[in-house]
């Protein structure tokens, strides 16, 4: 049920004791997300902080009660766009490892739709990068959310405020 792409960079440009191979990951899955497990997959030895965003299904949006959500993706393109995001993040920020996992299918209230974890030696960069990644993911990665209410449903077009 899970499409996984893991990048291992074998080449180390500045070898020093605290350097190891980068191992980012980006995935799309129908399975429930375990935030703690995903967050800990990005840990490298020379890092001191992981910042994690856990996005989940809200019960109320704009005052209206959601019964559940359905997420759909253009999967191969979504994975490519996630990979591009991660590459851009490494260009722009001083961070170590990134993990992004997005769930698809039917999600109940309170279930996690997306987890983004960033490990960095310094927390400032981890916060900045994690916030940048979720903002960009919502703008560029071809995934769509349908909100289902008691009396109807609607495909959301464009990023929500969340």
């Amino acid at each position: 049920m899970s499409k996984k792409f893991v990048m291992q960079e074998e080449e180390i440009r500045n070898p020093k004791p605290e350097t190891r191979n980068r191992s980012d990951f980006w995935e799309i899955t129908q399975d429930a997300l375990d935030v703690g497990v995903i967050a800990r997959r990005v840990v490298p030895v020379n890092c001191g902080a992981i910042v994690t965003l856990d996005g989940f299904v809200r019960q109320f949006t704009r005052g209206r009660e959601t019964e559940y959500l359905v997420y759909e993706a253009y999967e191969p393109m979504a994975l490519k766009e996630m990979e591009k995001l991660i590459a851009r993040a490494h260009d722009e920020f001083e961070i170590e490892n990134i993990g992004i996992v997005h769930r698809l299918g039917r999600l109940e209230i309170g279930e996690t739709s997306v987890v983004i974890s960033v490990a960095s030696p310094h927390r400032r960069a981890a916060f900045e990068t994690c916030e940048w990644l979720i903002k960009e993911l919502k703008r560029t990665v071809p995934i769509w959310k349908k909100e289902v209410y008691a009396d109807g449903e609607i495909w959301i077009e464009g990023e929500s405020a969340k």
Binding site: E72, M77, K80, S113, T140, P142, K145, W155, G158
Partner: protein, 79 residues
């Protein structure tokens, strides 16, 4: 030339299908091709649409080749 066109979410609902195959003259520009697709499913025009060619966002200038994978979708709402 034959290309496949994919729809997702709202555009799949409007088109009533998730994938079609269409025939176009060779060397058509993406803009023309996507224009014809929207003409074929006029309800698509109610939405702000995004287009992709071979899983990359298209700006309209791309030259479409036989076997290309096109996609028509609305602004994304993941996260």
């Amino acid at each position: 030339m034959k290309v496949s066109v994919l729809f997702f979410g709202a555009t799949a609902d409007e088109a009533g299908t998730r994938e079609i195959e269409v025939d176009f003259a060779d060397h058509a520009r993406a803009e023309e091709v996507f224009g014809e697709i929207v003409n074929k499913y006029p309800r698509l025009a109610q939405h702000k649409l995004l287009f992709a060619v071979n899983q990359e966002y298209a700006n309209g200038d791309e030259i479409i080749k036989d076997g290309d994978e096109l996609a028509v979708f609305t602004a994304v709402s993941g996260g």
